[in-house]
């Protein structure tokens, strides 16, 4: 998308305004760094913590990667089954709907007992968070393939479920799978703090935030890590959108602007 320069930098204005407002309120209204540290203090904290930040980000991304990969690997085949075969949907849907409302946090004891205090246990919590959005959006995609496209596939030689899924349903469902994955990534990332809260290692953004800074009442460090959590997620989402929306789903351009 090509925008005029003015529009391209529009986001910068409110961002700077919010940061200035924060600096002002923290410095002149609240005046208590334990309640709200100033933005400049937080930035300085990031500088102080620079040795920790990178390994913490990498560890969190490892947990995130384990969880997301697992969620995708389980959700996609299940979504094909549930979206394509009505009986599979009818059989499995109640189980899914019982499990879905259970918050990822509630799974922490299970994760510890089943898997122990390992990276995989943190990955498991993230898996729980990311799994359902990916599953539900994806099976919707497989379920809603227009009849006309399926029939076109049939008359052009796609005989049998396997070929119809491969050549017609899967490409049709791809945008839904992408949407589900994007939402799942968001939810999964939100679970990172919870997943690392119970101490699966000595690194990780959530681990550091909850196990170290919070107990020491280092609010400037806490907020610094909150900002980093947000920024990393933003980068991950941007990279995902770049590859998926610009490359893979070019044909969607005319449909959703």
């Amino acid at each position: 998308m090509r925008l005029p320069a003015k529009e391209k930098w529009l986001w910068l204005v409110p961002l700077i305004a919010v940061l200035l407002l924060w600096e002002f309120i923290a410095g002149y209204v609240i005046r208590d760094p334990l309640t709200l540290p100033r933005f400049s203090t937080v930035i300085f904290s990031i500088y102080i913590l620079r040795e920790l930040v990178i390994p913490d980000i990498l560890t969190s991304l490892l947990h995130f990667g384990i969880g997301l990969a697992l969620a995708f690997a389980v959700a996609l085949p299940l979504a094909i089954g549930m979206g394509w075969f009505r009986n599979v949907f009818k059989a499995i849907d109640p189980i899914i709907e019982i499990l879905r409302p259970i918050p990822p946090l509630a799974w922490i004891p299970v994760a510890i007992l089943w898997i122990g205090l390992t990276h995989s246990a943190a990955g498991f919590i993230i898996f729980i968070g990311a799994f359902f959005p990916i599953l539900i959006d994806s099976y919707t995609g497989f379920r809603d393939v227009p009849k006309i496209l399926l029939e076109t596939g049939k008359v052009l030689g796609c005989i049998g479920n396997k070929k119809l899924i491969k050549y017609v349903a899967f490409p049709y469902a791809l945008p839904s799978i992408a949407t589900g994955t994007r939402v799942g990534m968001g939810v999964g990332w939100m679970c990172v703090v919870a997943a690392e809260m119970f101490g699966v290692g000595n690194y990780g953004l959530g681990f550091r935030l909850f196990q170290k800074f919070y107990f020491l009442h280092q609010m400037d460090y806490v907020i610094a890590y909150m900002l980093i959590l947000g920024l990393v997620a933003l980068c991950v989402d941007r990279v995902f959108r770049y590859f998926v929306e610009e490359k893979l789903l070019k044909w969607k351009k005319g449909i959703v602007k």
Binding site: V155, L156, I159, K163, P171, W251, K253
Partner: protein, 257 residues
């Protein structure tokens, strides 16, 4: 016994809430090789059902369909089909759409491309190979659909009101193009339409069907030499006869309703 396609005592009943509905009753038609046959009738006369059965997308309740001496059992690329609705795969470019049937048949990349290019040229879409569906007009989409249906060299081309959703001027152009393609490929064409003008302009023979349950009322040979003039006296005579037959059929429905 040199019939290309033989419909033998074809009947079709659908089960609906109130019991059974007879859509088609005892229809028998023989189509000669390279013949252009139009099927026409009031809406709801089962002409689309008839075509879908030849395509293998619906199954006759009784009777048989014999194409090239073999009974039709299910969909197959030896019968090309063009639907009324736009049916291009939106995730594929024009070229890939046309190649689709060949890809399913596992024709090699190079040969596939060559054949597809030939048919794209035939339907006059050279230069649009890399366009997606959203970049094409309605008439262009149907041209692609025709090329895509022809690419596997089907022994018959089935067309279900293919020009029903394009504007009147484009429709005239597409009709002329279709005649040109028919002449060059020497395909047998079974063409369903509700337009008397279209039937008289295009076909060698018109099969008129009655309203529900659809049965064959009359087969009319259109023995006007081509190129035909849409406004000539002979064309008008045939139009008059067909219009009369159809309005007679339609009036029967009104009475029965």
């Amino acid at each position: 016994m040199n019939h290309k396609l033989e419909l033998r005592n074809l009947s079709k009943t659908f089960s609906i809430e109130e019991g059974e509905m007879m859509a088609l009753e005892d229809v028998s038609i023989e189509v000669k090789p390279a013949e252009f046959l139009c099927i026409i009738g009031p809406s709801g006369c089962g002409k689309t059902t008839l075509l879908r059965m030849v395509a293998g997308l619906d199954h006759p309740s009784s009777g048989g369909i014999i194409l090239d001496g073999k009974e039709v059992k299910g969909p197959s690329p030896d019968r090309g089909m063009v639907f009324q609705e736009f049916s291009l795969f939106p995730w594929l470019t024009v070229l890939k759409n046309v190649e689709f049937g060949l890809e399913i048949k596992r024709v090699g990349d190079k040969a596939r491309r060559e054949i597809a290019e030939r048919y794209i040229e035939l339907v006059g879409l050279r230069g649009f190979e890399n366009c997606y569906q959203y970049e094409l007009s309605g008439g262009m989409k149907q041209r692609v659909a025709i090329a895509r249906a022809l690419v596997t060299e089907p022994s018959i081309l089935l067309m279900d009101e293919p020009f029903g959703s394009v504007d009147a001027q484009t429709r005239n152009i597409l009709q002329e193009e279709l005649l040109r393609i028919w002449k060059r490929t020497k395909k047998t064409i079974l063409f369903v339409t509700h337009s008397v003008d279209e039937a008289v302009y295009l076909s060698d023979r018109v099969a008129v069907m009655s309203a529900r349950p659809g049965c064959l009322v009359k087969c009319l040979d259109i023995d006007i030499p081509r190129p035909r003039k849409r406004t000539s006296v002979e064309v008008n005579e045939f139009r008059g006869e067909l219009l009369m037959l159809i309005s007679l059929e339609r009036s029967k429905v009104c009475i029965s309703v």
